[in-house]
Structure formats: C-alpha cells, structure tokens
Amino acid sequence: MTEAIGVTGLVKSFGRTQVLNGLDLHVEAGEVHGFLGPNGAGKSTTIRILLGLMRRSGGDVRLLGGDPWSDATALHRRLAYVPGDVTLWPTLTGGEVIDLLGQLRGGLNRRRRDELLDRFDLDPRKKARTYSKGNRQKVALVAALASDAELLILDEPTSGLDPLMEEVFRQVVLEEHRRGGRTVLLSSHILTEVEALCHRLTIIREGRTVETGTLASLRHLTRTTIDAELVGAVNGLGTLPGVHDLRVDDHHVTFDVDTETLEPALRKLIDAGVRSLTSKPPTLEELFLRQYAR
C-alpha cells in the first residue's frame, strides 16, 4: 500500500506562537482516516498546509507523492476539499457553485451530482445567501463527492447537518469507498461518525500527535470497566497497579482496569469466587476524554 498523506515532524509557527510542534500523520491510499483533536489542536492548520494554502515552518509533508506547496496546482486535480465553515458567493445559486467548483476541478459526474442533490435534499435554485449553515455544507459536500477525486479532505464536514443528513453522509462515504477505493481524510468531532467510517485514526493535541492506529488498537490502550458479584471477599485488588476507582460494597465490586492488568485482576476475582460479571469496553468518548484532558 502506498501512502496518500505522509506528514512527519510538521512544525508551523505564526510569529512567536507555535501551532504545530512536530505533528505526524500517515494516511494509506484507500483508507478512511479519522483526524481528531480538541478545538485549536491544529487540525485545520494541518489541512491548510496539506492544501498548499499555508507554508510549513518545518518538517516533511508529502501529499499524493508530491509537495503540497510547490506542486499545489497539479495535486489539486486529484483531490476535493470540504472546509469546516463553508462560505459561498451570496449571489450565486447552490447549483451554480457546485458546477463552478466541479468545472475548476476538471468536470464532475452530472448523474452523480443530481443523485446527490436528491439524497441530500438540497434545492440548487436558491441563492447561496439564503442557505442555512447545513445547506451551505451540503453544497460543498455535493461538489466534492460528485467529483472523481482520488483523495477527499473533509474538515468537520457534517457540522450543521441534521442527524438524517449525517446518516446520508455516512452512507455516501461508505459507498464511495467501496466503489472506488477513494482515500478520505476526515476531521470530525462526531465520534459515532468516526467509529462508523474510519479504519484508522490519529488523535492530536496542542499541535502534536498523541495517538495513532486502528480503533481496536487504541481501545487497547485504555481501561475496561468491571462490575462483579463475588462469593467471598477479594484480597489485594486495590494494591494491583493499573486498578482504578475500586469500590467494594460487601460482595459487590466495581473498578476500572488497564488492559495489561486485566488478567491478574480477573485471577483475584476468580480466587474469591464469581457469581456474576459484566465487563464494559471503553467507549470512544472515554478514549477521547482521556486523551484530550491529559
């Protein structure tokens, strides 16, 4: 597999403030890659550097085998971009904007454009001035998805969409991916969306990559919640490193446990005799909260 996006040690500073401090981001060709981080972590700045709108201060950036700054025009023939905050020319209609962006990218699939308009339930005859945030977002989405670009860069593409439209977006991205094996870089805050669409993800914080990998491997890094009814008393559980928030109420124990301590912790329970046991895998939210708040 070749790499669609390869970012190593990316640095970007504005005057004396450093926004990106050695960020890494590697996206394989053909995968849907989630790009996550709290507000102000540097997601949009990274994307702007990938698009050649901003110049990097340091580090190495490869996009579809080229340099995003010096090869911008050539690379842009092969990608489509949806910004997080879509602004449109107020006097143009939605249809005109879609066709303009399509033309600039070298033509778009007309049948697909009409189908997408229909699925996103968007009236292309309205002046952009009158569109709501969600509808502006749809215009940019239709323009990007109706193109034949091999790489889609989506910066919080569903912000402002209603849940029904979010679902349409998910289906369309999955279909696109199945159909053509397009590469997607998806920056998002909506965790269910990331969970449903992404193969791998990268979490950044304060301009640095803090985690990257598949969802399963990231889950591995965090804690499982155990809730058990025991026959006898449990001994030494509280002294195990990696056991957190232990609560013992007569024969009932609940605690969180790090993945590497799971086995010794379970042994202690079995020694005490288990009547019933539930274990809850960490949710993506918990994963996030832990990463973001660190």
Binding site: S44, D99, L100, Q103
Partner: protein, 511 residues
C-alpha cells in the same frame, strides 16, 4: 430599542480610531483654510480679487458651489463646498457598516438573541454617526470662531456640514433595509449621493436650471451661505428630511425579517455555466462595473453639457471669455476630467480590494483548493480593477467630449487617457498591500483620500511640493504626453508585480 446603549458602546469600541480620526481631521480643515487664506491674501483687496475670479470660474462653481461675498468666512465656507459630499459619504458608509454589514455577516443574529430590541442596531448606528457629526459641528464652530470669524456664521457652517452628514447617515439607514446585501445597500446610497451632487452642480453652473440645486440636499447646505446671508431655511429642510428618512427606516425595520431585505431573493438557475476563475470574476464584478460605467456616463453628460453652456455664455460675455482665456482655454473640462480620474481611482481600489474580500470570506480558499493556481486567481480580479476604470474613463470622456461639442472630443479623450496610469498606480498599490499586508489592505482608501486632499486642497493649504508630488495625479499633465504616461505605468507595474510575488509566498489565513 432595548440594548441600544450597549450596541453604541460596541460601535465606539470597534471604531475607536476611525470615527474620531475622520471627524476631527475633516473638522479641522476649514480653520486651516482660514489661516492659509490669511497668509495668501493679506488684504481685503486681495481677497476680493480672488473672490471675483472664483465667482466666475465654472470649474470652481461646479466643484464648490456658488460664491456670493468676498469676506474671509464666506470664501472659506465656499472653498469647503465639497465637504458635504465627503461627510455624507463617510456617514452613510459608517451606518451601513454597523447595520447591514453586521447583519449579512450573521453577527446581528447573535446580538438579536440577547436582550436587544428590534430597532437597537438601527438606532445605535444612527446615534453614533449623528454623534460624530455633532463633534464635527462643535470643532468646526469653535475653530472658526478661534480664527476670529463671526459666531453666527461659524455655528451655521458647522451645523450645515453636520446636517449633510446626518441626511446621508439616515439615507444609509434606509438603504440598509432595502437589500440583503451590504454591497447593494452601499451602491444605492452612493448613487443617491452622486445624483444629489450632480443636481447641485448642474443647478449652480447653469443658471437656467438653478432650481435643480434646490432639489438636492447638498444644494441646501450650500444655500445657507454662512457668514453672508446666514439663511436657516435650507437647514430646516435638511432637518425635516432627516426626520422623514429616520421614520421611513424604522418602519422598514419593523416590517422585515432579520437577514432579509425588502427586495426579495428570487430563485436562480439550478445549473451553472461559470467555467473558470475569469468567469467567476466577471460574475462578481459585472454589477459594480455596470454601475460605475453608468455613473461615469452620467457625469460625462453633465460635465459636457455644462461645458457647452459655458461656451455659449462666454460667446455673449466678453468679460467671462477673458477670464476663461486667462484660466487656460478649456480649464473647466480638464479640471472635471481630473475629478473623473480620482473617481476612477476609487473604483480601481474598490475592485482590487475585492481580492481581500474574497480571501477574508473564505472564497479564495475554496478556489485555491482546486487546480487553479494563485497567479491565475489573482489575475482574474486584477484584470477587472485595471480595465474597469479604463472602460469607465473612456465612456465618461467620450460622452463628455461629445456633449461639449465635437471639436473638444480629442482633447477630452486625451485628458481622460492621461489619468489612467495614475489610476493604475493606486490600483497596483492596493494589490501590493493585499499581497504583503492583507489585513491592512483597506489602507488603500487612505491613499485615495490623500490624493483627493492633495488635488482639491493642496494648493490652498500651502503644502510643500514634495507632498504634492506624492500623488500620482500631480504628475498627470493636461493632455496625453508620453513621459508621465510611461513612468506612471512602469511604477504601477512594479507595485503590482511586488504585490503578486508577496501573495505567492504568503499563507492564506483562515476566514
């Protein structure tokens, strides 16, 4: 009206530099005139001589209005006769900036959800602008009295200028309700201001239609004749008009939805035919281009018509003919073309600033994320900011020359063409500012204002030659000649190239 006080504080915070700057600067100029006239014309006889020449110069009457007396105060009031247009323009821009521009950007929605009345934004913008005009009134009156001028005349002069600001502030508040777009609201208000000026000009120069200047609020201001007749009636008319416009505006506010105008948006085509950056630029510039060309056509017709009626007058009046000869054969027409040149520069700067508008709203980002390169995008807008003013000057010059009489056509067209490189210098300066200092790009308006001050007031204020030389318009001759044309064009080319290079190497900031 609830929340108006808070909004006024918000406006004062946002405009804390701009608002006092223009009010104080403009207000100090009449006293500056008074002191420099004292130096230029030390005796009453000198003043009377200057007044005599000025009274019969059609070019002066066209720009500044009629002059009826020869006291220092009257001459100052007359020479400041273009001020109502400037004050009116700044006032209407200020009001629209704090009403429709805010609404279009969606910020009114944010504020409207707080404890803020429906009319609060409208009232706050008007009250602040009227307040700035009252400051202007106070400064003009006090400084003119300080120059030893009569109290009554000084108060009336300040009042008349402040009221011209109030009239156009109220007009801006009305046009801001008509359309959903700040650009359209500005255009309508500026056209009305332009028509008011042209009506006044035509009525004052051509005595056969002198009633025309009584139709124009700009004309009213001048018919006060401060320090001379001190007539209060025109000011009452202006006050009534302000009241009427404010009532009209507030009725319109209560009849429409936030974000919408009275002119409803119609559905447009479902598919587009715009094929590239230049096609998009044409869509974005064509409305403004058409408006400017129509405006220049109208100005050309008026200037040409006035010039031909002056020629008729001179044929019957040997005194006037002698004065006109002394001022240089067709000084009126050449003077008017110089004014057209400056107006064309304002258009050039406005069109070039579209670059910054597009960038600041995030539209540039959408275009540059496609295979369109930076140079191609930049060029698509720069073409319009260079050729648009050229087309406007051509149309204005052509119509002016034709109505002035066929034999004038070549002279007038030559004079118009000579203005073009100076216009391009200001356009190119805007491109440079956009490339190198995008956030400060609108400082280009300061350059236009400086050129305007130098052309209109440089001689009277007794500025040094090197200051006058800063304006490209100082170097434009009366007709087409090679040296200034080539030099100014080369300067424009250098500035534009530097701007382009800077733009290609900088970041596109997020919207």
């Amino acid at each position: 009206m609830t929340g108006t006080g808070t909004l006024i504080r918000l406006i004062l915070r946002r405009d804390r530099v701009l608002l006092p700057l223009w009010a104080i600067l403009v207000a100090l100029i009449p006293a500056g005139y008074a002191s420099s006239f004292k130096g230029l014309f030390p005796t009453a006889a000198d003043l009377a001589g200057y007044a005599r020449v000025s009274m019969s110069s059609p070019g002066f009457i066209a720009l500044y209005g009629p002059l009826r007396g020869d006291s220092l105060g009257e001459i100052v009031a007359w020479r400041a006769g273009f001020f109502p247009v400037i004050i009116g323009l700044i006032s209407l821009l200020t009001v629209i900036r704090h009403t429709r521009t805010e609404e279009e950007a969606g910020r009114t929605e944010l504020i409207g959800s707080g404890i803020v009345g429906r009319h609060a934004a409208f009232a706050a913008a008007l009250i602040t602008t009227v307040g700035a005009n009252l400051v202007l009134f106070a400064i003009i009156s006090v400084t003119m009295i300080g120059q030893g001028q009569p109290v009554g005349g000084s108060v009336l002069l300040g009042l008349s200028f402040a009221l011209s600001g109030c009239v156009f502030a109220a007009l801006g508040a009305v046009t801001a309700q008509l359309s959903g777009s700040a650009r359209t609201a500005r255009s309508i208000a500026i056209v009305v201001l332009g028509v008011a000026f042209v009506l006044r000009l035509a009525g004052d120069v051509d005595t056969g239609v002198s009633w025309l200047s009584w139709v124009s609020p700009i004309g009213w201001v001048q018919h006060v004749f401060a320090y001379g007749e001190n007539d209060v009636l025109p000011l009452l008319l202006a006050l009534l008009l302000v009241a009427g416009l404010v009532v009209l505006g507030s009725v319109l506010v209560s009849r429409r939805d936030v974000g919408e105008g009275l002119i409803a948006a119609r559905p447009g085509p479902a598919t587009g035919t715009i094929s590239g950056p230049i096609g998009l630029a044409w869509r974005l510039h064509r409305g403004v281009l058409t408006g400017w060309i129509l405006g220049f056509a109208a100005l050309g017709l008026v200037f040409g018509g006035v010039a031909s009626s002056i020629a008729d007058l001179a044929a019957d009046n040997s005194d006037l003919a002698a004065i006109l000869r002394r001022l240089g054969g067709n000084s009126f027409l050449v003077g008017m073309i110089a004014v057209l040149g400056l107006i064309a520069a304002a258009y050039g700067v406005q069109a070039a600033l579209r670059l910054r508008d597009e960038e600041a709203t995030g539209h540039t980002e959408a275009i540059l994320a496609t295979p369109v390169g930076r140079l191609r995008w930049l060029a698509s807008h720069v073409v319009f900011s260079l050729l648009g003013p050229a087309a406007a000057l051509l149309v204005g010059g052509l119509l002016c020359g034709l109505t002035a009489g066929g034999h004038q056509l070549a002279t007038v067209l030559g004079a118009a063409a000579a203005q073009l490189p100076a216009v391009w210098v200001l356009t190119a300066l805007t491109v440079l500012l956009f490339g190198a200092f995008p956030r400060q790009a609108s400082a280009a308006w300061g350059a236009v204002a400086a050129c305007f001050l130098i052309l209109m007031m440089g001689a009277v204020l007794g500025l040094d030659q090197w200051v006058l030389d800063l304006s490209p318009f100082t170097h434009v001759g009366h007709g087409l000649s090679a040296t200034p044309f080539v030099t100014l064009t080369a300067i424009a080319a250098v500035l534009a190239t530097a701007g382009t290079l800077a733009f290609r190497h900088r970041d596109i900031p997020s919207a």
